[in-house]
């Protein structure tokens, strides 16, 4: 079980001087004045383990750095402070028909700084890429306190790809205070369809058939029976309650283009013995379909007191096997699980339901989760697609990486942060070779 230690007394005593130091580094509004109100740094907006200050770490909150600094439609980019919400960027540019592409389910709450730290994706990254693919520049603060700009409004670095390395580094290398993102003009329109199937296997085969056909929908989402029921109760989106599995498929373009693509997709789905297929007939219906999907975590929260949201990634061809194994594990551990995931890119989000008031239930949930992630690696995937390693998965890192790989990553971390001051005790397992176990 993850322990959340008390901060050390000497650190508590130093809070005032730490805040004063931060004030020198950051704009006035970026520092929370009241030392006792130092709040967690928002990472990905997820309810579980949102922030876990460890040992003697001080939590640096950037949520007050929430200004949009520049929007440039001619060069199709926007520069914002790290505390601007993901949706805040799209809202700021929507009047001109533009948007910021990565759209994690938590986009109402999560901040772009956290998106950079976790290289967040979302439902539409099959078409538009993840955070790293949509960034142009960063303003960073090194651990030495130097403020440096990386990239800008132009494409591609000439030197080493710091933008790419820092994105997804979970705050291990530098602090990010400003982000320049690409903004894109939205397509003429978009429409979603639902297809309901008799088994996870058949739905998985349908995903394969869609990708093999040469159509890349802008979104291709999968929900299993428990997820369908939980989300329908929450969103009343018309999800098929008699189905074992359901796909949400979205296409873009003019109405005629949408019709043509949806016709082809319906033909493909029809070859997989669907229980039902429904094409959204209005923007309201499409919105309801997405409300169910994007509200999935909250919907599960309504039926279970607690849940663990996993984030493994698998090769999409292994989907049926992996779902079958997760079902078996659910029986073995005596815990329910709902499966929701980005089918096009193999990013699974099994939601393991448990009761935190029952220590045995929690312990089983953690073991269940670890087994799911090990399974993901075993079939050729990885531990985390967009939520990050953090504390929860750090001890699983040796499942995916060799000791040489981990040592190399630690040496790169040290090149930025020789004293291991940034986000200590995260990402890297604490059981490390003695010479490199600085963080432990």
């Amino acid at each position: 079980m993850i322990q959340q230690p008390e901060p050390k007394r000497d650190v508590l005593a130093r809070r005032e001087s730490i805040v004063a130091g931060l004030r020198a580094l950051l704009p006035e509004t970026g520092v929370i004045a009241d030392a006792l109100r130092l709040k967690p740094y928002e990472t990905d907006g997820l309810p579980a383990y949102r922030q876990l200050p460890l040992a003697d770490a001080v939590v640096l909150g950037l949520m007050r750095m929430n200004q949009i600094l520049d929007i440039d439609y001619a060069d199709r980019c926007a520069t914002v402070q790290a505390g601007v919400t993901n949706i805040g960027i799209s809202q700021a540019v929507q009047e001109r028909g533009f948007f910021y592409a990565p759209d994690p389910s938590s986009q109402l709450a999560c901040m772009i700084g956290g998106n950079v730290a976790m290289n967040s994706g979302g439902a539409h990254c099959l078409r538009y890429g993840v955070t790293a693919n949509n960034l142009l520049g960063l303003k960073i603060v090194t651990v030495e306190g130097e403020i440096v700009e990386i990239g800008g409004a132009h494409l591609d670095a000439a030197g080493y790809d710091w933008l790419g390395l820092i994105t997804g580094s979970e705050g291990q290398l530098v602090l990010v205070t400003e982000v320049t993102v690409r903004i894109l003009r939205a397509a003429e329109g978009a429409r979603a369809m639902l297809a309901a199937f008799r088994s996870n296997e058949v739905a998985g085969a349908c995903v394969d058939a869609i990708i093999s056909s040469g159509i890349i929908p802008v979104a291709l989402e999968f929900m299993d029976r428990p997820a369908i029921h939980a989300c329908e109760a929450f969103a009343h989106a018309g999800y098929p309650l008699d189905a074992e599995a359901m796909l949400i498929i979205e296409v873009e373009g003019s109405v005629a283009e949408q019709d043509a693509l949806l016709d082809r997709l319906r033909e493909i789905c029809a070859r997989h013995d669907p229980i039902s297929m429904k094409v959204s007939s209005s923007p309201e219906e499409s919105a309801a379909i997405w409300k169910g999907r994007k509200g999935a975590f909250g919907a599960i929260g309504r039926i279970s007191p607690d849940y663990l949201c996993m984030d493994g990634v698998i090769p999409t061809s292994r989907l049926p096997d992996v779902l079958r194994r997760i079902g078996e594990m659910s029986e073995e551990y005596g815990l329910k699980v709902a499966n929701i995931f980005h089918a096009g890119d193999g990013n699974l989000h099994p939601l393991i339901m448990f009761d935190a008031n029952d220590p045995d239930s929690f312990a089983r949930a953690e073991r269940f989760g670890a087994d799911v992630l090990k399974l993901c690696v075993e079939v050729g995937g990885c531990l985390t697609g967009e939520h990050g390693v953090g504390v929860e998965k750090r001890d699983l890192m040796p499942v995916q990486f060799s000791p040489t790989d981990l040592d190399q990553q630690r040496r790169i971390k040290e090149a930025f942060d020789p004293q291991w001051l940034l986000n200590p005790s995260k990402v890297f397992p604490l059981t490390s070779p003695p010479a490199l176990a600085h963080a432990a």
């Binding site: 790419g164 580094s169 193999g346 967009e386 190399q408 040496r411």
Partner: protein, 405 residues
């Protein structure tokens, strides 16, 4: 290059680098060698080539991934994915003829070379760079240790992203031995909207309108009249916007895009065959091939709206031939291989807030010039520390990017 060590497998690469590490002996790292002329000359008595590490190790079209050893000719990979109606997303250029290397003529370029230099073509403006689609790498660091990062899945934030760090690192951090790429279905049809005779400023404004339209423009270039040359379908300066999709959508979208661009002139629509040939020429910088084979070549990357000013500045400084890709943001320049010309390119790139890369020049100029921008002190320190973290004795392509790195 004769005399280069050409290991047959990854273990052979590791052994060769470990030996060089023990001896503290620098190695020039290359694939086929077609890009040896990029950036600064490497001071190394021995060379190590990955050209014998060949073969596609995994191709799963329905999962959109392909893996191949670093020395696999890019053409072989392009052919393999084309057989399944797919393509390499970033449309990497074939600069062999432009760079004039003998290796390029006989061997072509390797996958490893393309990733190590992160060179992307016209589609970069809409679909990302080479590095955006590198899902996994295997590599040997400067100690001779085998590393891997990423994998064969489309999303991955597990650990630090060495795929991006090694992409574009020009062989200075590790020897890439195997690469996994994301690929996508190749759109079956291509069309181009062209506006004739615009100035560079008007052309880039039109390209901004095209890229800011809802029609999914996948490439946007401006060729001044001097660069149009023998290209089929063009006469005066050409402002070009490409649509790639299914045939009915290409027809619809090029028509609508042309209507959108009527404010800038009288748009024409080029057919599929003409479009494909034209964009291949833009991709490979064919407009800069003619002329003096000893000319220097640069790529400057700035915000798109600054592209015309860069072109104007270098044209004022020397007899420059140039054209713009990436909506105006990528300025290809050919000119005399002199320090004065290089200084003018650097000044123009800096004025535009962007970066530059010296692609071709005689060794003297390459060794003396800042072939890519120097970094601010804080980043320069991190660059050296990261270099030391991967290659502590500085034996991999020393000096390729920066003096002393």
């Amino acid at each position: 290059m004769s005399g280069a060590v050409a290991p047959q497998d990854e273990a052979g690469v590791a052994a060769a680098v470990a030996e060089a590490f023990a001896a503290g002996a620098p190695l020039e790292i290359m694939g086929a060698g077609s890009k040896r002329g990029l950036l600064r000359p490497v001071q190394a008595a021995r060379a190590l080539t990955t050209r014998a590490l060949t073969g596609i190790t995994l191709y799963s079209p329905h999962e959109l991934v392909i893996s191949a050893r670093a020395g696999t000719p890019l053409a072989e990979i392009e052919a393999a994915v084309a057989e399944h109606g797919q393509q390499i997303i970033a449309e990497p250029p074939d600069l062999g003829p432009l760079l004039g290397s003998e290796a390029a003529r006989t061997l072509g370029q390797t996958l490893g070379g393309v990733v190590a230099t992160n060179l992307s073509g016209p589609r970069r403006v809409a679909w990302g760079a080479m590095r955006d689609h590198v899902l996994g790498v295997r590599a040997v660091n400067g100690r001779g240790e085998v590393l891997h990062s990423g994998g064969r899945v489309l999303k991955n934030v597990t650990g630090l992203d060495l795929c991006k760090l090694l992409s574009g690192s020009h062989g200075t951090l590790a020897v890439i031995t195997e690469i996994t790429l994301k690929v996508l279905p190749a759109p079956p049809a291509t069309g181009t909207v062209v506006l004739d005779g615009l100035s560079a400023e008007q052309g880039v404004a039109a390209l901004a309108a095209a890229l800011g339209s809802p029609y999914g423009v996948s490439a946007a270039a401006y060729l001044p009249s001097g660069a149009v040359g023998q290209l089929a379908g063009l006469a005066a300066s050409a402002t070009l916007a490409r649509i790639e999709d299914i045939a009915s959508s290409v027809t619809y979208r090029t028509t609508r895009l042309a209507e959108t661009l009527e404010a800038f002139g009288r748009p024409r629509i080029l057919d599929d065959a003409t479009s494909r040939a034209l964009w291949r020429s833009v991709r490979d910088a064919v407009p800069l091939r003619n002329g003096n084979g000893n000319a220097a070549l640069w790529r400057v990357s700035v915000r798109p709206s600054a592209g015309p000013a860069v072109a104007q500045a270098v044209s004022a400084a020397f007899d420059a031939r140039w054209f713009l890709d990436w909506g105006g943001g990528l300025v290809w320049i050919a000119g005399p291989a002199t320090e004065a010309a290089h200084t003018a390119v650097v000044a123009a790139a800096q004025a535009g807030g962007g970066t530059w890369m010296l692609l071709r020049a005689p060794d003297g100029l390459r060794a003396a010039a800042t072939v890519i921008p120097e970094e601010p002190a804080a980043l320069a320190r991190i660059t050296r520390a990261v270099k030391a973290a991967l290659d502590p004795k500085g034996i991999l392509n020393p000096g390729r990017m920066y003096v002393g790195v």
